[in-house]
């Protein structure tokens, strides 16, 4: 099953490489990863998605928790949560296709953020599934470039991940 693991860790040199290293060292997969400092500059929030059965995920979580730089973490997929990913996608847009593409982008609440006579750059935010859906909906349109931010997420309701 796909999991979203959200980590609060020291904003220290080397901390990120320890997290990433753990995954390669123990033969786990990282599907996506985002990291940036929080409102408290001394802490970073890292969100990663990975796939595994319960046993594997339990091990991943335990090993992540063992890292000295990791302060706290949560498997967001265990409860109600909000998941977002941002995508910038450059597609070929000429002739009649331009209007059609704009319509599809609207349906997905995408925004055209840059144009040239032959191209659109569309920005889209949502769950990873929604981004995948958008790409699928473009079937037939030549895609020139896709940039995805990786997933970030937060628990719904009053639950917070903080020190």
């Amino acid at each position: 099953m796909r999991r979203i693991i959200s980590i609060l860790m020291e904003n220290q040199p080397g901390a990120l490489s320890r997290v990433v290293g753990l995954f390669s060292q123990r033969n786990y997969n990282i599907n996506s990863l985002t990291v940036a400092p929080t409102e408290d500059e001394s802490l970073s929030r890292l969100t990663l998605t990975t796939v595994g059965d319960d046993r594997k995920i339990e091990q991943i979580i335990k090993h992540l928790n063992k890292l000295v730089d990791v302060a706290k973490l949560v498997d967001l997929t265990e409860g109600a949560h909000i998941e977002r990913e941002m995508m910038l996608i450059k597609v070929k847009a000429t002739g009649a296709q331009r209007a059609e593409l704009k319509r599809v982008a609207d349906i997905f609440r995408g925004v055209v953020v840059d144009i040239t006579p032959t191209m659109y750059t569309i920005q889209l935010t949502g769950t990873s599934d929604k981004l995948d859906g958008f790409i699928a909906a473009l079937a037939g349109t030549p895609i020139l470039e896709v940039v995805r931010s990786g997933v970030s997420g937060i628990a719904r309701g009053e639950k917070v991940l903080s020190l």
């Binding site: 860790m9 091990q59 335990k62 000295v68 730089d69 302060a71």
Partner: protein, 575 residues
């Protein structure tokens, strides 16, 4: 407070941390630090002959004393030479602090002379690491490093220090912190009482219990409590290779070591048990054999470990208890002592009868060879007798290691010092130096093979310089015996690169050339007397080179992929 340079502050901080001894080897990036060592007399430095030996010596010191071992090496090759020893300590959860010199801050990343990314290279084999950015950070970094290395599940910590940080001309006001708090690091201090209660209930109801204890009991200073608990319950107990000495091996409740080369009775009892209390042991594949689905099919597992990641990693625990072994065992003991029901003595009697039946098989019996040839097992038996069972025994890796584990009966913790997790040949001699330096009056023997000893033989020089009277017990079978055994058993006897033609040195002469003594033993009839003579040379390092039967295999040996009850018992018998 004193104005100190980074180099002086480093050594001063080590002293303030209680460090008496460090093992190291100098080089460019560490020279400011070495000058600081020269200018004081509180922290003693032992010059080894290879950085790997520095780490093993510090490791041996740590295993024997329970205190962290400390290592100092230079950048580049100094640092990379230390890697094997750091990995060895990491696998066996040994507290160690390794300080490595680094090229100056402004040269980092430029492929400078002797530059290696030590933080990167060591990352997967350390508990944590620090790169020091300013001289002022030194005291706190040292404090943190020792705190992390010695608490929770212990392990090695690397501190990488660029050369400019220890520059003698840059001074700052030194003070050593009394304590540190690391907000993202809080090892458990006790176990969950509800879980402990649940475990004790299951344990007391058991009909065929086994207590399986590992290195964590020794690291966690839990040997006395474990012994008290085992005695109180009257249950059988087995130790892992790392756990030998946690329970007195000469006691009748002890079944011997378990696992790949465990005793028949220990492995049979595990296999047939209904409840296993695992204490500070990690169900590693040398215990469980390769197919965990076949591991102890009827047993409910109660697992105590300080590391949550060690619990249910390979074998699922029915009752997990995360916590340091000593306080958990103490709580258990109190519950057992105050229990009104007591154990199922009827069932226990039947269980012991069964175990005695397995014991009667005498899986470790040794028959004399023909022609006065010495069996390696007999060499260890002689060692046990000559030292009264009271020596510190370090070991290398191979058949000799298994024979030592099987035939030297350890009654006390911290007496058996071997590389269990990584299985590092070359560990034994430098580890023995660390032990001997920690306990100058103690009898310290290194059980080794002619293969392993040559991996760190240069340390004979360190032993000479420091006058360390280590006794080297070389079970010389003229081969990489353990490799050869596997080749005999699994590769049709094709001895691919496991023998050395005629290239073995004369170890006696070699030892003598370093100024040590050497004794050669070739006949069973002379084994005990010559060994006693060697050990009587109390002030000397004696290299005891024992020609042993080269055809001998280690048995019992688990049958790969089988149940724990499936073992080869000799070249011709299996269960």
């Amino acid at each position: 407070m004193a104005q100190l340079s980074g180099g002086d502050a480093l050594i001063r901080a080590l002293h303030d941390e209680g460090v008496e001894l460090i093992f190291g080897y100098p080089g460019g990036a560490a020279l400011h630090i070495y000058d600081a060592i020269f200018n004081q007399d509180k922290v003693e430095h032992i010059l080894v002959r290879h950085e790997q030996a520095a780490t093993h010596a510090a490791d041996g010191y740590a295993r024997a004393t329970g205190k962290p071992g400390v290592v100092l090496v230079t950048s580049g090759p100094g640092a990379t030479n230390a890697i094997t020893g750091i990995a060895t300590a990491f696998m066996d959860s040994i507290p160690m602090v390794v300080i490595s010199g680094q090229v100056a801050s402004d040269a980092i990343g430029s492929d400078a002379f002797q530059e290696t990314d030590m933080i990167g290279v060591s990352r997967p084999i350390v508990k944590h690491s620090f790169m020091v950015q300013t001289p002022q950070e030194i005291p706190e970094t040292i404090k943190k490093a020792f705190f992390i290395a010695t608490t929770g599940r212990p392990g090695p910590v690397v501190i990488d220090i660029p050369k400019d940080i220890t520059d003698p001309s840059v001074k700052f006001e030194y003070s050593y912190p009394e304590a540190v708090r690391i907000r993202s690091y809080s090892p458990p201090v006790k176990g969950h009482s509800g879980q402990i209660k649940k475990a004790v209930e299951i344990l007391m109801e058991a009909r065929k219990p086994v207590i399986y204890s590992g290195g964590g009991v020794i690291q966690g200073e839990g040997a006395e409590l474990l012994t008290a608990l085992v005695r109180k319950l009257g249950y059988p107990v087995t130790n892992t290779l790392m756990g030998l000495g946690a329970y007195p091996a000469t006691d009748k409740q002890f079944l011997g070591m378990l696992g790949m080369h465990g005793t028949y009775e220990a492995n049979m009892a595990m296999h047939e048990s209904d409840v296993i209390l695992a204490v500070g042991a990690r169900f590693d594949d040398r215990v469980t054999n390769s197919d965990v689905s076949k591991f102890c099919p009827d047993a409910r597992i109660l697992h105590i470990d300080i590391d949550p990641a060690a619990i249910s990693k390979t074998v699922t625990a029915h009752v997990p208890i995360v916590g340091p072994v000593a306080p958990v065992l103490k709580e258990m003991l109190e519950l057992v002592e105050s229990s009104k029901t007591g154990v199922d003595s009827e069932a226990l009697k039947a269980w012991w009868e069964k175990i005695d039946h397995w014991r009667a098989r005498k899986c470790l019996a040794v028959a004399n060879a023909d022609n006065d040839v010495i069996k390696p097992q007999q060499a260890i038996q002689a060692l046990f007798e000559v030292t009264g069972g009271d020596a510190y025994i370090t070991s290398d890796v191979g058949q000799h290691q298994m024979f030592a584990a099987q035939y030297y009966h350890f009654d006390k913790p911290r007496r058996w010092i071997n590389s269990g997790g990584l299985g590092t040949m070359g560990f034994g001699l430098p580890a023995a130096m660390g032990v001997q330096l920690a306990f100058p009056q103690a009898v310290v023997a290194c059980v080794t093979g002619e293969g392993s000893i040559q991996m760190n033989i240069q340390e004979l020089a360190t032993c000479r310089q420091c006058a360390l009277p280590v006794k080297i017990v070389n079970l010389n079978n003229k081969a990489l015996g353990m490799v050869k055994q596997w080749q005999d058993m699994q590769y049709g006897g094709r001895h691919s690169h496991s023998t050395y033609a005629d290239s073995l040195p004369d170890f006696v002469k070699l030892a003598e050339s370093y100024g040590h003594a050497g004794v050669k033993i070739e006949k069973l009839s002379e084994l005990k007397s010559k060994m006693a003579e060697a050990f009587a040379m109390k002030d000397k390092l004696v290299f005891i080179d024992i020609a042993v039967d080269p055809e001998e295999h280690v048995y019992p040996m688990a049958i790969r992929g089988g149940y724990m009850s499936e073992m080869f018992l000799s070249k011709t018998e299996r269960t």
